[in-house]
C-alpha cells in the first residue's frame, strides 16, 4: 500500500548547458561570498577581482559556445527559458560588460571589508541579467528582473562613504520597485486576459483587442521602460548614475540596457504580434520622448557622469527606434548597436573613473580641463567615445545609427529618422563640450588645485578602456561579421 502514497512529481528535464552562462556567474558570486569570509584581508581584493573576472570570462565563453550550438531556437526546462542565439548573443554582451567592469573596478578605493561582497554582487547581477534575457514566460521574466535589480540596488549604495551613493541606491530602489510592480501587475492582467504565461502562448491565444490585455501590455512596456531608463520612466537615472560608484554606473549603463532592450524586443514580437500596431506607436512615442528629454537635459549638465546619464536616456531612445520598427532589420540593428554602445559607455565611465581617482572629487566639465594633454591615451579614448555616441564615422556608433535609421525607414516611418537626426544635432553640443573641456582649455588657466604627484598607475583600468576603444573602432571596420552574428541571432525571432 505504501507505494501508492508516493507522489510522483514530474520533474522537467533540465538543460544545464542552456543555463550555463548564468550559472557560471552565479557560481562565481557564491564563491566570492566565501572569499569574503575565508580569505585574509590582504589577499581579499585580488582574489575577489580575479574570481569575478573568471566568472564573467567563463560566462562569456559558455555563451559563445551556447550561441554556436543553438542554431535553431528552442525552449528548455518546461518551456520556461529560451535556448537560442538571440539570448546567447545578449549573454555574450552582458558577460563582456561584466568582465570590463571588473577591470574598471580594480583601482577604485573600496572599503576593504566590502570588496569581496562588491564583486559577488556584480557577478550576481550579471547572472540575473543572463537569466533574464532567456526568459520565455512572464514568471521567469519577473524572476530575472528582480534578481538583477536587487543586486544593482545594493551595488549603487555599496560605497557608503561616497556622497550620494546611499541616496542613489535608495532612489533606484524606490523607483525600481514601482517599475517592477507595474511590470508584475501588467503580467497579471495579461495572464488574466489570456490564461497563459508563456510568450508564445500569449501570442497564440489571439486575444488582441481585449482591453485587459492592452492595459496589461501598456503596463509591461512601462515596467520594462523603467529598466531601459527611457523617458518618461527615466527619473531615477541621473541620480543613480551620478551617485553610484563609477564602475557600477558603467555596468548599469551598458549591461542593464542590453538586458532590458533585448527582452523588450523579444517579448513584444513574440507575445504581442497581434497588437503590433499599438505597441510600435507606443515604443516610437517613448523613443521620441527619450530623445527629446535626454538630449535637452544633457545640454545643461556640468557633472560629466550626470551628462552621460542623460546621454544614456537619449541612447535608450535611439535603440528603441529599431524596436519600434518591428522588422528583421530592426532586430539586427538593435543587436549591432548594442555592441559599440556598451563599449562606449563602459569606456567613457572608465575614463571618468580615471579622472575621479586622480582628483578625488566628482568630475565636472571644468575639472576635465587639460586632461586630454596630461593623459593622452585616456583623452583620445574619451574623444573616440564621444564621437561614437554622436554617431561619427570611424566608430561603430555611426554604423549603429545608420542601421537604426534604415530599420525605421523599412517600417515606413521616415519621421522617426527625422526625430533621430534632430536628437543627434542637439547632442553634438554636449558631446563636443566634453572634448572641448579636455583639450581646448589649459589646466593652468583654470588654476585647478593640483592633485599632487603623478597620477596613480592603474593598468587594469587602462586595459579596460583599451578593450572598449578597440571594440568601438573595430565595430566600424568589421561590420560584416558582427551583422552576420546579429542576423543569425535575430532569426530566432518570429519574422
Amino acid at each position: 500500500m505504501t507505494h501508492s502514497l508516493i507522489v510522483y512529481v514530474n520533474r522537467p528535464h533540465v538543460d544545464w548547458f542552456a543555463l550555463s552562462p548564468s550559472l557560471a556567474m552565479l557560481a562565481a558570486s557564491g564563491l566570492l561570498l566565501l572569499v569574503a569570509v575565508f580569505v585574509p584581508r590582504r589577499a581579499r581584493k585580488a582574489a575577489a577581482a580575479m574570481g569575478a573576472g573568471a566568472g564573467f570570462v567563463a560566462a562569456f565563453v559558455l555563451a559563445v559556445v551556447l550561441a554556436a550550438k543553438s542554431p535553431h531556437g528552442t525552449t528548455a526546462i518546461a518551456d520556461s527559458i529560451f535556448r537560442d542565439r538571440w539570448a546567447a548573443v545578449a549573454q555574450v554582451l552582458i558577460a563582456g560588460c561584466g568582465a570590463v567592469a571588473v577591470l574598471l573596478s580594480w583601482g577604485e578605493r573600496w572599503r576593504e571589508e566590502h570588496v569581496a561582497e562588491y564583486y559577488a554582487l556584480l557577478a550576481a547581477a550579471g547572472a540575473g541579467m543572463a537569466f533574464f534575457v532567456q526568459a520565455s514566460n512572464l514568471m521567469t521574466l519577473f524572476l530575472g528582473l528582480e534578481w538583477f535589480s536587487i543586486s544593482l540596488y545594493v551595488l549603487c549604495a555599496i560605497d557608503i562613504d561616497l556622497i550620494g551613493s546611499l541616496e542613489a541606491g535608495l532612489k533606484y530602489l524606490i523607483i525600481g520597485a514601482v517599475g517592477s510592480a507595474t511590470l508584475l501587475f501588467g503580467s497579471a492582467l495579461v495572464y488574466g486576459s489570456t490564461g497563459q504565461l508563456g510568450f508564445d502562448k500569449i501570442g497564440a491565444a489571439g486575444h488582441t483587442h481585449d482591453s485587459l490585455l492592452v492595459l496589461g501590455l501598456a503596463m509591461v512596456i512601462a515596467g520594462l521602460a523603467f529598466k531601459t531608463s527611457a523617458a518618461p520612466f527615466h527619473m531615477w537615472t541621473p541620480d543613480a548614475y551620478t551617485g553610484a560608484p563609477t564602475p557600477v554606473t558603467a555596468f548599469m549603463a551598458s549591461a542593464t540596457k542590453v538586458a532590458a532592450l533585448v527582452v523588450s524586443y523579444r517579448l513584444l514580437v513574440t507575445a504581442f504580434p497581434g497588437d503590433e500596431h499599438l505597441w510600435t506607436w507606443a515604443i516610437a512615442g517613448i523613443a521620441c520622448a527619450s530623445l527629446a528629454v535626454g538630449n535637452i537635459a544633457a545640454l545643461v549638465q556640468k557633472n560629466v557622469k550626470r551628462l552621460l546619464a542623460y546621454s544614456s536616456v537619449s541612447h535608450a531612445g535611439f535603440m528603441l527606434i529599431p524596436i519600434a520598427a518591428a522588422n528583421a532589420l530592426g532586430g539586427r540593428a538593435l543587436l549591432y548597436y548594442l555592441i559599440p554602445y556598451c563599449a562606449m559607455s563602459l569606456g567613457a565611465f572608465g575614463v571618468i573613473a580615471a579622472r575621479e581617482r586622480e582628483l578625488g572629487v566628482p568630475v565636472t566639465l571644468d575639472n576635465l580641463a587639460g586632461f586630454g594633454w596630461e593623459r593622452p591615451f585616456f583623452g583620445v579614448s574619451m574623444w573616440v567615445f564621444m564621437l561614437g555616441f554622436l554617431g561619427f564615422p570611424l566608430t561603430g556608433g555611426f554604423v549603429g545609427k545608420f542601421y537604426a535609421f534604415a530599420a525605421a525607414y523599412r517600417h515606413g516611418w521616415w519621421w522617426l529618422i527625422v526625430a533621430g537626426v534632430a536628437g543627434t544635432i542637439v547632442s553634438a553640443a554636449y558631446y563636443l563640450a566634453v572634448v572641448r573641456a579636455m583639450y581646448f582649455r589649459d589646466a593652468a588657466e583654470l588654476q585647478l588645485a593640483p592633485a599632487g604627484g603623478s597620477p596613480p598607475r592603474d593598468l587594469p583600468l587602462a586595459a579596460g578602456v583599451a578593450v572598449c576603444l578597440a571594440v568601438t573602432v573595430g565595430s566600424f571596420f568589421a561590420v560584416q561579421p558582427l551583422i552576420d552574428a546579429a542576423h543569425s541571432a535575430a532569426s530566432a525571432l518570429p519574422f
Binding site: 539586427r332 594633454w373 564621437l387 561619427f392 564615422p393 570611424l394 555611426f398 554604423v399 545609427k401 545608420f402 542601421y403 535609421f405 534604415a406 525607414y409 523599412r410 521616415w414 529618422i417 527625422v418 537626426v421 543627434t424 544635432i425 553634438a428 553640443a429 563636443l432 572634448v435 572641448r436 583639450y439 581646448f440 561590420v479 560584416q480 551583422i483 542576423h487
Partner: protein, 473 residues
C-alpha cells in the same frame, strides 16, 4: 597595382598621421616627417595622373570590397577626370599647409601634424568615394581634425568659431545622412555607380543643404568669418582652398548627377542664392577690415561663381567650374598663407595698421601682386579662363545671370586691388616696422610653387578644362 593607387592616396596620409601619433620621436623631427609624407603623397598623385586615361569618361583606378552586404554598402573608390584634379589640389594644398606649419613651428607638433595629415586623407577620401555611405564617412571624418585644429591652435575667439562651425556643419551633414539612408534603401544599394537617379525633391534638398553649408553658399555662411579668421593660417588655407571644394564636388557628383529632375526644378532658386552670395560676398570683402576677412568673403563670392558654373547645366559651365575650383583652391591657399606671413611680421592683419610693405620686400610684393592679379581675373590668367567659361555657360540659362557675374568680377577687382594697396602700398602702417623682413627662403619655397602652378594654368587652362570628360552624364 594601379587599382591600389586611389587607396594609397587616401591611406598614405592617414598612415603618416598614425606614425606621428604613435611612434615616439623628438618633437623637432615631427614636422619634417609630416612634410615628407605630404610630398610623397604628391608623387603618388603624379603616378596616378600617369596611369589615367583622360580620353575616357569612365571611372578609373577603381577598387571595390564589400563592407556590409545586407544593405549593399561597399568600400568602393575610384576617380573621374574631375576628381583626379581635385585630389591633386588637395595633396598640393595639404603639402603646402604641412610645410608652412613646419616652418612656423606649431605647439604640440605631434598632435598638430597628425591631424593635418589625417585631414588630407579624409578630403582625398571624399573626392574618390564611389559609395554613398563611404562618402558620408569621409565627409564627417573631415570635421574631426578641423574641429580640434581650430579649437586648440586657433586665435582668441576660437571657442565661438568652433561652436558655430560645428553646429552648422553637423546640422547640414545629418540631414544628408537621413537623405542617404532613404535614397540608398530605395535603390537597394549605396554604390553611386549603380544607383539610379531619383526625382525626390526632399532627398535633393537633404544633400543640397549639406553642401551649401560646407561651401558655404549664402545664407548658410554664418560660420565662415569666425572660422576663417580664428584658424591657424594654413588651416584657413585648407578650409577655403580645399574643404569648400568638397561641397562643390558634392553638388557635381551627387546632387546634380543623381537628381536631374530636382536640379532642374531648383536651378533658379539656387542660382539666385549664388548671385546673392556673389555680390554680397564681394561687397563684404571690399569692406572687410583685415586681410583674412577679404580672402574669406572673396571665398564666399567665388563659391557663388562656381555654383553658377555647376548649375549652368552644360559642359561649358561645368568645365569652367572644375577649372575655377582648382584656381580658387590654389589662389586662396596662397593668399591665406601670405596673410599668415604678413601677420607674423606685423602681428596683426588689420588693414589700417598695415601698409607700405612693398618697400624693401620685393619677394612679398611680387608674390602677393601676382596672386592678386590672377585672383581678379585679368585676361590671360587662369581665373579669367575659368570665369569666362562659367559666364559663357550660365549665359545659356539667361543673360541676366551672366550680367550679375560680370558685375561681380568688377567687384573682385575692387577688393583685390584694395587689399594689395592696403598691404603693399600707401604709407607704412604703425604695425609695419623696418625689422619686418622680406619672405625667407623657406616661405618662398612654399609659395613660389603654388604661384608657379597658377601661372602654368594661366598658360594652359585646357590642361584641366579640356581633361574632365564625364562630368555630365
Amino acid at each position: 597595382m594601379t587599382s591600389w593607387l586611389t587607396t594609397i592616396l587616401i591611406f598614405l596620409p592617414v598612415a603618416g598621421a598614425l606614425l606621428v601619433w604613435l611612434v615616439p620621436m623628438p618633437a623637432k623631427s615631427v614636422g619634417s616627417i609630416a612634410a615628407l609624407v605630404s610630398l610623397v603623397e604628391i608623387a603618388v598623385w603624379i603616378a596616378a595622373v600617369e596611369h589615367f586615361d583622360f580620353g575616357s569618361g569612365e571611372l578609373q583606378l577603381a577598387q571595390q570590397r564589400p563592407w556590409f552586404r545586407d544593405l549593399g554598402v561597399s568600400y568602393h573608390v575610384g576617380q573621374f577626370g574631375y576628381s583626379l584634379w581635385l585630389v591633386g589640389l588637395t595633396v598640393v594644398c595639404g603639402a603646402a599647409a604641412c610645410l608652412y606649419a613646419w616652418w612656423v613651428g606649431r605647439e604640440r607638433p605631434r598632435a598638430y601634424f597628425g591631424l593635418l595629415l589625417f585631414l588630407t586623407g579624409a578630403v582625398v577620401g571624399v573626392f574618390v568615394a564611389q559609395d554613398l555611405l563611404l562618402f558620408y564617412a569621409f565627409f564627417e571624418a573631415m570635421l574631426i581634425p578641423l574641429y580640434v585644429l581650430i579649437g586648440v591652435w586657433g586665435g582668441a575667439a576660437r571657442m565661438r568659431a568652433t561652436i558655430t562651425f560645428v553646429v552648422y556643419t553637423v546640422a547640414g551633414s545629418l540631414l544628408m545622412l537621413a537623405a542617404i539612408v532613404v535614397y540608398g534603401l530605395q535603390q537597394g544599394t549605396f554604390d553611386l555607380t549603380r544607383m539610379g537617379t531619383s526625382s525626390n525633391d526632399w532627398l535633393f534638398l537633404g544633400f543640397a543643404i549639406a553642401f551649401a553649408v560646407k561651401a558655404p553658399l549664402w545664407p548658410f555662411h554664418g560660420w565662415l568669418p569666425d572660422a576663417y579668421r580664428e584658424s591657424p593660417a594654413e588651416v584657413s588655407a585648407l578650409l577655403s582652398g580645399v574643404i569648400s571644394k568638397v561641397a562643390a564636388y558634392g553638388f557635381l557628383r551627387i546632387a546634380i548627377r543623381q537628381f536631374p529632375g530636382p536640379t532642374h526644378d531648383f536651378r533658379v532658386p539656387i542660382l539666385v542664392l549664388a548671385s546673392i552670395g556673389l555680390v554680397y560676398g564681394s561687397l563684404l570683402a571690399f569692406r572687410a577690415p583685415d586681410v583674412r576677412g577679404v580672402v574669406a568673403y572673396s571665398s564666399l563670392a567665388q563659391m557663388g561663381l562656381i555654383t553658377y558654373g555647376l548649375f549652368a547645366a552644360n559642359s561649358l559651365g561645368s568645365d569652367g567650374a572644375v577649372l575655377q575650383m582648382v584656381n580658387h583652391g590654389l589662389i586662396s591657399t596662397t593668399l591665406f598663407l601670405l596673410a599668415g606671413m604678413v601677420e607674423r611680421r606685423a602681428a596683426t592683419g588689420e588693414l589700417k595698421l598695415l601698409g607700405g610693405m612693398a618697400r624693401g620686400r620685393p619677394a612679398l610684393a611680387t608674390l602677393l601682386m601676382t596672386t592678386g592679379v590672377i585672383a581678379l581675373a585679368v585676361p590671360l590668367s587662369s581665373n579669367f579662363a575659368g570665369e569666362f567659361l562659367i559666364l559663357a555657360g550660365v549665359f545659356q540659362q539667361g543673360w541676366a545671370w551672366a550680367v550679375i557675374g560680370a558685375v561681380a568680377i568688377v567687384l573682385a577687382a575692387m577688393y583685390m586691388l584694395r587689399l594689395i594697396s592696403a598691404v603693399l602700398h600707401e604709407r607704412p602702417g604703425p604695425a609695419v616696422t623696418e625689422a619686418a623682413l622680406d619672405l625667407r627662403g623657406a616661405e618662398l619655397a612654399i609659395v613660389v610653387p603654388l604661384v608657379g602652378l597658377l601661372l602654368a594654368l594661366s598658360a594652359w587652362p585646357a590642361a584641366i578644362s579640356g581633361h574632365v570628360a564625364g562630368i555630365l552624364p
